[in-house]
């Protein structure tokens, strides 16, 4: 309920900002409308659990980029209230095209089945389906190999995955709870893993299952598992969730926002999985810095003439 209220509030704000941007004639007001959209987007990110992205949105976008834009306005307009009106025909064409675009997009969106989640299959599914026949077999293999590279190799000698018997796989399977999603249903994926009877599995059951695994199939040894369990046993935690288990076992490197550790994972991701893009973008930023400084430098007259350099 609260989520819905907040969502509609932020959505309304974002849309208001967007239409404000679209309709306002004064460029500074346009920028202020943009501020509304940016703030609302940040709110939506908070709502989606992406705290860090939201904060970055506020700092960089609203606090930095937008100031830069307004600064640019101040530098480039002689008359603050100067208005450039587009031609009517243009307005008409643009309105029609954009409305059509919205219609098409919404239609497509609502008629699509989004592939919500199944990067990792549940244990049972994996056992049943030959991995290679699975529609996402390619991704599946790559991703699981990659995810579990630091734990226990789950690929056997022939290169066939053995199934998610590692801690990583099990915890993740519990985390995602993936079955075939009916069309149009976006139920929260964070349902607990079902046990054999179809009842949700608790964190304790998951731990028990982990214990039952032979040690060589687990990502962590007994001692680490025990300490992870001990860490979960705070007096006022009534039941362990599978998420908690996954986190306590130290295997949540790429998961998002549970228990506020998404930020930490973003940091790990930047210096781990996404190191290359991170570096590439750093270099790009440097190039942009130089390029912007070059473009904005004052023009020096080529030679000593007074009227040169115009």
């Amino acid at each position: 309920m609260l989520e819905a209220i907040l969502f509609y509030g932020f959505a309304a704000m974002a849309l208001a900002g967007a239409f404000g941007v679209l309709l306002s004639r004064n460029i500074v007001r346009t920028a202020v409308w943009l501020l509304a959209t940016l703030g609302a987007a940040a709110g939506l990110y908070f709502l989606l659990g992406a705290m860090f992205v939201g904060a970055i949105q506020l700092i960089v976008y609203a606090g930095g980029t937008l100031v830069l834009i307004i600064f640019g306005v101040m530098l480039t307009s002689k008359n603050p209230h100067m208005r450039f009106a587009p031609r009517r025909a243009e307005v008409a064409v643009a309105a029609v095209v954009c409305l059509a675009l919205v219609g098409l997009l919404v239609w497509v969106l609502l008629h699509s089945t989004w592939y919500v989640g199944p990067i990792v299959q549940t244990r049972a599914q994996w056992a049943q389906t030959g991995v290679n026949e699975h529609p996402w077999a390619h991704d599946l293999q790559a991703v699981t190999q990659f995810l579990d590279a630091n734990h226990v190799a789950i690929v056997d000698a022939k290169g066939v995955p053995c199934g998610p018997v590692t801690l990583a796989g099990l915890a993740r399977a519990a985390w995602y709870e993936l079955t075939v999603m009916p069309q149009g249903d976006q139920g929260d994926r964070r349902q607990p893993l079902h046990d054999a009877d179809g009842k949700p599995m608790s964190g304790d059951q998951l731990l028990a299952e982990l214990h039952a695994l032979p040690p060589q199939d687990r990502a962590i040894d007994d001692a680490a598992l025990e300490s992870a369990i001990a860490a979960l046993e705070s007096p006022d935690a009534p039941a362990r969730t599978v998420q908690q288990v996954a986190y306590a076992c130290g295997d949540a490197d790429l998961l998002t926002d549970a228990d506020g550790d998404g930020t930490r994972n973003i940091g790990l991701g930047f210096l781990g999985v996404y190191l290359l893009p991170f570096e590439v973008i750093s270099v790009l930023l440097l190039a942009v810095l130089i390029g912007a400084a070059y473009l904005a430098r004052p023009r020096v007259p080529a030679s000593g003439g007074t009227g040169g350099g115009r």
């Binding site: 243009e90 064409v93 095209v97 954009c98 098409l104 497509v108």
Partner: protein, 743 residues
């Protein structure tokens, strides 16, 4: 995190990094510091390094004969699961000896430069470069892989470029710098190929065996190399190739025969720089590198190395006789001595060659600094024809210079030069007499039942006593197939006799220089008086005295330099020690060399050039003299051959271009033209008629199409979206029709 690292490694790292810090400070703040502060700061920095090096040496000495090698290996790039490129620090006896030598000599040169360069406008920059030079050389010494070595190798090259061209206003100086740089590039090309080869083949070799993590440090490479050399079938051919390619680098850097041309020209740099280049840093780097990779050198490679050394030492010594510029005499003497070192190593005298490197550093830096003092006193006059009689004007400089001359000529038992040169000649004797062949056969037979043990691990203690006696004792080390080529043959004696004769020549040209500079009558009053009035400041005298002491004592066995170098490759395990039987014989010959060569020079030049000129007038001497004086025309040869070759290639390609290509083109052109003329007729009357009509249509269409091309990006965006919309719409419609969703 480095708690368990040997403190010596820290000290050496600090000693290496200090000059870098000095460089940074001097290059940034040097101009603001003022002359005195900049100079003394630079000197203090390298002096601190020297103190650290001496502390390390003391520690090392305290560890006794069997001090263990200390390695700090920092993995840098993980190439494969067990293949790691690493950097780090390597400490063994050779490192310690070299560090001590480099830092002490460099400190003295810094101190000397404070006096020598005082009037220069770029005083602080000079010290900055000197510090960088020392940093590069120290880094080269303490680094533990070929990668680090190559990095510092290039830094050394850069520094030499900067310093040789220090007086870049002078065309000749900047030319010399460029020449040094370019010639070194030729050598480095080989070097880097060698590194690549070493990494490729040795890593492959190592992963075939079980060496654990392969990080290709120098120790590991030598370990692998000695394993290969010990293989019963002989070393593979590629090992020879790697060895020779790596040696190419040394040929460039240590100015060996084909690439020696840059070194004499490098005299254009300030004299302290010459001292540094010739003694402690640049040329030492090449020899040091060959010593480091010694276990990768196959007998074939060693023979080539020895031959190159032989050529260099002979040629350079002969040229040195004829030169008049005091620094050029010293430059050619350096070439010659480097030839000795390289030949020594090439003949398997690893210890002898590197020991000569160290002793040579002391007396050669002394000689250069002495010549610098002379030049300074003589108001920057370098021509010996204008000097003479300077002993009275600058006695201390003269005495130290003479001590150095004694050292380089090998005054028996007193000077360091005698010991080291004697060792090289002893090695040559061993090689030529075939004493080593015996060891090798022994070793081979031992190798068969010696089994898996590798050379480096074999304990030698039990047989060390016997081996030390010089008998052909049985060695338990497996065969290393060292230097069996040519050993004992008749032609092998040239590796002994020619260097021995050149030892005489060495004494001759050095005493010639001494006589012409310090004795005889002054030949130029102006120069003499300038020297008499100005003298040499104490800042320049102190280094001379210290180095003179070094030139004498550094050869004494009490100082352990030999022991340190030997500890890296125990001679007994290799069958490479000098047979002491030859020693009495060698002492006599070396002593005579000093006396005969020096005496002859004193005799001829006692009255200046008079007698020498007469000798030149003897029939048949002049042409030889001209050839030698012009450095055997090597530079000219390079110019002519390379120029001619290039020009010839140009001519050939020009003619090819002009006659073949152009001719073809012309033929084609003519043909096409005649065809075109025909088709023109057709065109004008038949095609044009229809074309004009078409054009009108096209123009109309163009006008129509031009309408949306408004030149406004935002409109284009709109069109783009429209197109995407249409495309997606069509796609979806088709899909739906296919799926029967539209009925």
């Amino acid at each position: 995190m480095f708690d368990d690292v040997n403190p010596m490694i820290w000290m050496l790292t600090a000693a290496t990094l200090l000059p870098l810090g000095g460089f940074v400070v001097l290059i940034l703040l040097g101009k603001r510091m003022g002359r005195a502060l900049a100079g003394w700061f630079g000197t203090a920095v390298i002096g601190t390094s020297a103190v650290l090096a001496l502390l390390v040496a003391k520690r090392w000495m305290g560890l006794g004969e069997h001090a263990a090698v200390a390695d700090l290996i920092i993995p840098w790039l993980q190439l494969k699961e067990n293949l790691v490129l690493s950097v780090g620090v390597h400490v063994d006896g050779l490192t310690v000896a070299m560090t001590v030598m480099v830092t002490i000599v460099a400190t003295m040169i810094h101190l000397f430069s404070v006096g020598y360069m005082w009037d220069d406008v770029r005083f602080s920059r000079f010290f900055a470069f000197l510090n960088l030079f020392c940093f590069s050389m120290l880094g080269l010494i303490v680094g533990n892989t070929l990668i680090t070595m190559f990095v510092f190798w290039e830094l050394v090259g850069l520094c030499s470029y900067l310093l040789i061209g220090f007086y870049f206003e002078k065309k000749s100086a900047s030319n010399a710098a460029i020449k040094a740089f370019v010639v070194n590039r030729i050598g480095d090309f080989g070097f880097i190929l060698g590194i690549a080869g070493a990494f490729f083949w040795l890593a492959r070799e190592a992963s075939a065996g079980s060496h654990g993590v392969i990080n290709l440090t120098i120790s590991q490479m030598n370990h692998i190399g000695s394993g290969l050399l010990a293989a019963p079938g002989g070393a593979p051919l590629w090992l020879t190739a790697i060895g020779l390619l790596l040696f190419c680098g040394a040929v460039g850097k240590s100015a060996q025969f084909p690439l020696h041309v840059w070194l004499p020209d490098a005299m254009e740099g300030p004299t302290p720089v010459s001292a540094l280049i010739h003694a402690a840093t640049m040329v030492a780097a090449g020899v040091y590198m060959v010593g480091r990779i010694f276990d990768l050198l196959t007998p074939q490679a060693l023979l080539v190395i020895a031959a190159i050394g032989l050529i260099t030492l002979t040629m350079a010594a002969l040229i040195a006789i004829t030169q008049f510029d005091i620094k050029r005499v010293l430059a050619y003497s350096t070439l010659s001595q480097l030839g000795y070192m390289v030949m020594g190593i090439g003949l398997g005298g690893y210890v002898a060659g590197l020991f000569h490197l160290i002793t040579h550093a002391f007396f050669k830096s002394l000689l250069f600094l002495g010549s610098g003092a002379v030049i300074h006193a003589c108001h920057h006059e370098q021509d010996m024809r204008k000097m003479g009689g300077l002993f009275r004007a600058i006695p201390i400089t003269a005495i130290t210079f003479i001590i150095a001359t004694f050292a380089i000529s090998g005054l028996p038992f007193v000077t360091s030069g005698f010991y080291s040169k004697d060792m090289i000649l002893g090695n040559a004797w061993d090689y030529a007499s075939g004493a080593r062949t015996v060891h090798s056969t022994h070793a081979e037979s031992a190798g068969e039942h010696g089994g898996e043990a590798t050379a480096a691990e074999t304990p030698t203690a039990e047989h060390g006593g016997e081996a030390g006696e010089g008998e052909t004792a049985a060695f338990h080390a497996p065969a290393l197939n060292r230097q069996t080529i040519g050993a004992g043959r008749a032609w092998a004696w040239m590796f002994f006799w020619i260097p021995l004769v050149i030892a005489y020549v060495t004494a001759f040209y050095m005493f010639r220089a001494v006589m012409l500079t310090f004795f005889t009558r002054p030949r130029d009053e102006h120069v003499f008086h300038h020297a008499k009035e100005h003298g040499v400041p104490w800042k320049m005298k102190i280094p001379l005295i210290v180095l003179a002491a070094g030139a004498i004592v550094v050869g004494f066995p009490q100082l352990k330099f030999v022991g340190w170098i030997e500890s890296t490759r125990p001679a007994e395990a290799w069958g490479l020690q000098i047979s002491h039987a030859a020693h009495g014989f060698l002492f006599v010959w070396a002593g005579i060399a000093f006396a005969v060569g020096g005496g002859l020079a004193v005799l001829i030049y006692r009255n200046g050039f008079g007698l020498a000129t007469k000798i030149r007038r003897l029939p048949g001497v002049e042409p030889i003299y001209q050839v030698v004086y012009n450095k055997f025309y090597v530079d000219e040869l390079y110019n002519h051959v390379l120029l001619k070759l290039t020009m010839a290639a140009c001519q050939v390609s020009y003619f090819w271009d002009k006659w073949v290509i152009d001719g073809l083109v012309n033929v084609v052109g003519t043909t096409v033209r005649s065809v075109a003329e025909f088709s023109g007729m057709f065109d004008r009357h038949v095609i044009d008629g229809s074309a004009n009509g078409l054009a009108a249509v096209t123009q109309g269409a163009g006008r129509l199409v031009r309408v949306p091309q408004t030149g406004r990006i935002r409109n284009y965006v709109l069109f783009m979206v429209l197109t995407v919309l249409l495309a997606v719409g069509v796609f979806l419609t088709v899909r739906m029709v296919q799926n029967g969703m539209l009925g």
